[in-house]
Symmetry: C2
Subunit: 149 residues, 2 copies
Amino acid sequence: MKVLNKETDYAVRSLISLGMKPEGWVSAKVISEEQSIPYQFLRRILQELIRNGLVLSKEGAGGGVKLGKEPDEIGVTDVIEIFQGKVQVSECMFRKKICSNRANCVLRHEIMRIERLVNQEFSKVTIGKLIADLKAVESMRSQQTKQPD
Amino acid sequence: MKVLNKETDYAVRSLISLGMKPEGWVSAKVISEEQSIPYQFLRRILQELIRNGLVLSKEGAGGGVKLGKEPDEIGVTDVIEIFQGKVQVSECMFRKKICSNRANCVLRHEIMRIERLVNQEFSKVTIGKLIADLKAVESMRSQQTKQPD
DNA sequence: TTAACTGATACTAAATTGGTATCAGAAAAA
DNA sequence: TTTTTCTGATACCAATTTAGTATCAGTTAA
Ligand code: FES
Ligand code: FES
């Protein structure tokens, strides 16, 4: 069971990529090459991110995209919601015979508790946090390579 | 984003159904009608549950299936794993360029933490617990209906 | 005026999902 | 002993989703 699909995956990676760039517009082509994401696929993904305000765009030569929000304000949940819809465990797991009153159904509460939990955890993981973690790893790694093995 | 698919959904409902039956073998036909699950589809699902030891079966007239374990020993995770594979957030979210050392990758840790969490939460929800909750709801409901509104 | 961009959208192959159909064999019951 | 009720195994199917491609139009900078 794969929770994140390619669109979400590529989107998050693009956002990280953009968040690590100093300033100015970055073209889809550059991101595509940098992250080995199929160009046309990426284009479509970026357009979706643009429509949802996560990134801004500028047309024409010298144009491209850049983050539309602070890295810390973009949670993985936001991206998931755009490409995969709201996380929901099950439409309604025990309908009909078994579960007659949806309103105050204990089972449903159980399910929805997990849903909330998953959402919470995913929103904690922001693009900003991912970038910070990444940089930490990078510096650790460069420290390591100074020591020959 | 639907976390549980029909197979898992139907499987859990069948298991609950079996767990609430007193004793003896229950035929697929009965479960199918009781839970409004397409018969042939259910057959395939039950066979999978049988292969995985969650339910036992007996061939021939008067045969059928019954739980192969205590209701409390069957977690929803077990069912998910059978029909949808192990919960994994993403194969490896930041490969290639971005993430060069998988071994001690902080991001990967982050992702895997969520994976563990989701798994934990789902294993807490056992068939036994679901049945107990259901019975609680049922009795609450019958209490309510004694009071006219 | 041309090259480097995005906007919009149509198309496709392959995989997955949800469901159906069939045939064989076991056991109980008639 | 034949028929009925059941599971075992497996092949098939249509619809949807996923991942990716292709095209054309319009914008901006050089
Ligand atoms: S689970 Fe759907 S109403 Fe109880
Ligand atoms: S996320 Fe895959 S190695 Fe870091």
